[in-house]
């Protein structure tokens, strides 16, 4: 896992000093080495976290005749098989790295190579002869890739802060990006929260050459028509799912030249991946977990149980609200976007623990909730549909109790709650029926925006993610439509980004996600919906497939969403000084996103309770405001955060062909 950046400039040689500054801002992604390539039209930079072929494999790296160069962040897990095929076709390899497979695969198959890759990647290929840059991002957006288009070229990088190393790039919030964040929890690619900065959509590649800039998908999230799924037998599907998850986990554990650890949350998904490693690799396993002092969030009991069952060497870190507040500016500096939960902060501390223990790769259970239908949102949607068939039915109204057992203790509140919950924006024909309650409750944040920003949002181009759903999605099962929306919005924009890549790479740790393996995702998407969500039983097939490896009380425990203390983290007696600075009235006014008087009222309300027992809406509001202010401070205001750079060691690759006539076609 690494950092990549680059410059294409058709009106003169790219600025090497700028490239080095861009690389310096990606030092945390690759502390093991760095390198660059430059010719008269393009420059590629790379900071390396050495995992495969640690002695070779330095980047940028080229093909046999030096006409194709690559800078690459990620892993191509099937590089061994692809390498064998390419050697058979006559390609000559100089290293044992997965990176070199990319350049030869590009030579052999062109843009079709991306659909052959099984992995997680952000790739930039430079074809000197054609003066063509090709960018590519993995199927679901595990690895980030940002860019800004210029009249005569383009800048790209793994993180926005690297692009901002160019002081000529305007730094401002994009109203439409903020609008999306305060609706969907994150911007939806290609949009970001920064004006002019785009991110390549997952599953896409982009080409820039003398003919201009263009993008195309090489893979799409898709599902079969309901009732036409290829295999209807649950046991047959459970066996096939197990086979794919075992292989995906083995690939991610074994294809590394450095030791690999695993996260253990206490839930089903990471228990499955850790159990598969223990059962199918026979290798000693080191597991890492988050603990919380507050029992509302803590899963320590289950973590210890699973660790004991597997015999892992286990370590955990106890996270307090004060610890979350202490690291929150760093968290936002890495996340580069407003966030609506404090949950990324503990994950930042967890990856730090991993790194301190000498590990730089972990396998986690991320993605199972989206791919195999684990979220409450999917269950809620099914209950809403059930209720909608007869809203006056007393029996159907009781379905709320199946989602929220506390309802049984408050029967008097049930009818009103059911109407407000089930009936909210309830149109059975709405393709986003599953997500309206979440989007509506999140959008309440926007009532606190400044008048100016509200005007700019209403005047901006509306991005309606529902309008981008595939035409054939009308024939999918409702669960499939919900999964498509979840994978397109929250998974790529928040789970894999703010909670995933950014919090791992902040401490130079690579995450590997077996549930997002190409074969697992394609197989899971083709399953009958009932095999994923059987009635209200979430991740039904996963539980069936691994019933022998996971203890019953973990297998059947109610889903506990990963959460951390939100507003309460910022109202402790030992609150850090940064909070007063970024939340001061003048700072709120300077950022221009929120209305200062409304912010003051919210802070006073939180102050009275110490941030405890706040509503979900107020918790989100606090996090939205604090993180937006920090995003402004780190990237838009001219503060100290904006200039943070690593001092890079001497590059291990330094190729400068600006004086080579052959660099111009």
């Amino acid at each position: 896992m690494c950092g990549v950046c680059g410059i294409v400039s058709y009106d003169g040689p790219p600025d090497l000093a700028l490239l080095r500054r861009m690389m310096g801002r990606l030092g945390h992604r690759g502390p093991d080495g760095n390198g660059y390539y430059r010719d008269r039209r393009a420059a590629l930079g790379h900071t390396r976290l050495a995992i495969i072929d640690t002695s070779g494999g330095a980047q940028p790296l080229c093909n046999e005749d030096g006409t194709v160069w690559v800078t690459f962040n990620g892993e191509i897990f099937n590089y061994v098989e692809l390498g064998a095929e390419l050697r058979h076709r006559g390609h000559i390899f100089r290293t044992a790295s997965d990176t070199e497979v990319i350049v030869h695969a590009w030579e052999e198959w062109g843009e079709e190579c991306f659909s052959r890759f099984n992995g997680q990647w952000a790739i930039a290929l430079w074809d000197r002869r054609a003066e063509r840059l090709v960018l590519s991002r993995d199927r679901l957006g595990v690895r980030p890739l940002f860019f800004i288009r210029r009249p005569a070229g383009l800048l790209f990088a793994s993180e926005v802060k690297s692009i901002f190393a160019d002081r000529s790039v305007q730094r401002a919030f994009d109203p439409a990006g903020l609008d999306q964040t305060f609706t969907y929890w994150s911007p939806v690619a290609p949009r970001t929260v920064f004006r002019g900065i785009e991110q390549l959509e997952p599953g896409h590649y982009a080409v820039l050459d003398r003919n201009g800039f263009r993008k195309a998908p090489y893979w799409r999230i898709t599902f079969p028509e309901r009732g036409r799924e290829p295999v209807q037998d649950a046991q047959e599907n459970a066996d096939a799912l197990r086979e794919r998850i075992v292989e995906a986990t083995r690939l991610r554990f074994l294809r590394s030249d450095v030791p690999v650890g695993a996260y253990l949350s206490g839930g089903l998904d990471s228990s499955v991946t850790a159990a598969v490693i223990a059962r199918y690799t026979g290798a000693p396993l080191h597991t890492f977990s988050l603990r919380f002092a507050d029992s509302e969030f803590d899963e320590g009991l289950y973590q210890k149980k699973m660790s004991a069952v597997l015999g892992t060497q286990h370590q955990d870190i106890m996270v307090s609200p004060s610890a979350i507040a202490a690291v929150f500016p760093e968290v936002i500096w890495h996340a580069e976007t407003p966030i609506l939960r404090a949950a990324p902060a503990p994950l930042f501390l967890l990856s730090k623990l991993v790194r301190e223990n000498g590990y730089k790769v972990v396998v986690t259970g991320e993605g199972a909730d989206e791919v195999l239908a684990g979220y409450d949102l999917f269950r809620e949607a099914r209950v809403r549909l059930f209720w909608s068939r007869d809203p006056e039915s007393e029996k159907r109204t009781r379905a709320a109790e199946l989602l929220y057992p506390w309802m049984a203790r408050s029967p008097g509140r049930m009818p009103a709650f059911a109407r407000s919950f089930f009936g909210r924006r309830l149109d059975p024909g709405d393709p986003a029926l599953s997500h309206r309650p979440r989007w509506d409750s999140t959008s309440v944040i926007k009532s606190m925006l400044s008048g100016d920003l509200q005007d700019r949002i209403s005047g901006a181009d509306a991005d309606d993610v529902v309008a981008t759903m595939p035409p054939d999605s009308k024939d999918w099962d409702p669960l499939s439509r919900a999964q498509w929306l979840e994978m397109t919005t929250l998974l790529a924009g928040y789970i894999l980004a703010s909670q995933g890549d950014r919090m791992l790479m902040a401490n130079s740790v690579e995450g590997r996600f077996p549930f997002l393996d190409r074969a697992v995702v394609d197989f899971a998407n083709a399953l009958p919906a009932r095999h994923k969500l059987f009635g209200l039983e979430e991740k039904y097939l996963l539980k069936r497939a691994f019933a022998d490896l996971v203890p019953d009380d973990i297998l059947h425990r109610p889903k506990q969403p990963y959460r951390a203390p939100d507003a309460a983290s910022f109202f402790t007696p030992d609150r850090p000084a940064w909070f007063e600075e970024v939340m001061a009235e003048r700072a709120i006014a300077a950022a221009g996103v929120f209305e200062p008087s409304l912010v003051a009222g919210l802070l006073a309300k939180c102050g009275r309770t110490g941030g405890e027992n706040m509503s979900n809406t107020d918790n989100m509001r606090v996090l939205a405001i604090v993180s937006t202010q920090l995003t402004h401070e780190c990237f838009i205001a001219d503060g100290e955060w904006g200039a943070l750079e690593w001092s890079l060691p001497d590059p291990s690759v330094a190729v400068d062909l600006t004086n080579d006539d052959r660099s111009v076609a």
Binding site: G227, Q232, D233, A234, R382, V383, L385, F386, R389, D390, S393, E394, K395, R396, R398, A399, E401, L402, A408, A529, R530, F534, G535, L536, E537
Partner: protein, 69 residues
Amino acid sequence: MNRDTVEQVLRDYDALRRPGADPELEAVRAAILLEDVFGVALSDAEIDPAVFADSAAVAALVARLQGAV
């Protein structure tokens, strides 16, 4: 959905029954499953613990409702 698949779904449903749970609530849980999987709509009278206590009765109910679809 062929008969074998229907029978398999009902067997899978049987395996998930929760002994000791509120029978009325379990009837609602089963109704959600049946309506989703078989594409049928149950009346309030059919969302009845007595019906869902007996696998054969559930199978008969599904067969009748599917015939009516």
